[in-house]
Amino acid sequence: MKTIILKTASNYLLPVLLLFSVFILLRGHYLPGGGFVGGLVAAIAFVLDAFANGLQNTKQVLKIHPGFFMPVGLAIAFLSAISPILFADLPLMTGLWAHEPVPVLGKIGSALFFDTGVYLVVIGAALTIIFTISESA
């Protein structure tokens, strides 16, 4: 859509929404949120940008094909799921927790990595779906 109002607004909304999405991701373990909603918000941010600036622009912003987020995210989730087997001889998916709480994030553990994987996969999948449709529309 050729409207500078939307375009300008979206330039500000994009970083804000992305920031918000990370916020939602990180707090998920303690308050409503988590990787899935976070990922959706991030995806929506890019979709908004695509509406305003055109798909090509958004793709340039992303630098890599959104589809690439999927294997990366999946790999992260997969690794955090099997790391207990590899490193601790514990069953699949067992939570591994750092002893000392980390600033900002609180107590850090494999669950967070797992959720990050979810976050990336959701971004990748949602964007792949929507971008593909827009391109072929």
């Binding site: 859509m1 050729k2 409207t3 109002i5 939307l6 607004a9 909304l13």
Partner: protein, 136 residues
């Protein structure tokens, strides 16, 4: 003291929300409906959120409320603008009582370019009929 503030915020907010609701029911054309709802609702919701901020009286809640209000202030007018211009493309007529329509014939119907003065407009637009949602 805080309770009084909450009463006031909540009541005013609700009244503005109701105002927006009545407005969207009563206003005679699409543009007026958009116009009414954008502000009354924004103000109303802002006040209601304010009530929550006062109630919880907690910094993190207050900042969150601020964030929400800023989001709404940012997105509501942009949305109104978008849907308003789209309404014009679709050919939704202005209310009969409207006094002026400077936009008339200034959109190029195929490219959606918008001219700033009437001379630039190509004449072929005039023959195109207005369109409503054909699905309706």
């Amino acid at each position: 003291m805080t309770d009084v503030l909450i009463y006031i915020f909540a009541t005013l907010g609700t009244l503005f929300a109701l105002l927006a609701a009545i407005g969207i029911i009563r206003m005679p054309d699409t543009y007026l409906r958009i116009s009414v709802n954008t502000k009354a609702a924004t103000l109303g919701v802002g006040l209601l959120l304010g009530a929550a901020a006062v109630y919880f009286y907690d910094f993190s809640v207050t900042t969150r409320v601020q964030a929400i209000v800023i989001f709404i202030l940012l997105t509501a007018p942009v949305g109104a603008h978008l849907i308003g211009r789209t309404s014009y493309f679709l050919g939704n007529k202005l209310w009969d009582g409207s006094v002026i329509d400077d936009l008339k014939d200034r959109y190029n119907k195929s490219t959606h370019e918008l001219k700033s003065d009437p001379e630039q407009v190509e004449e072929n637009n005039s023959k195109q009929d207005s369109k409503t949602d054909r699905n309706a």
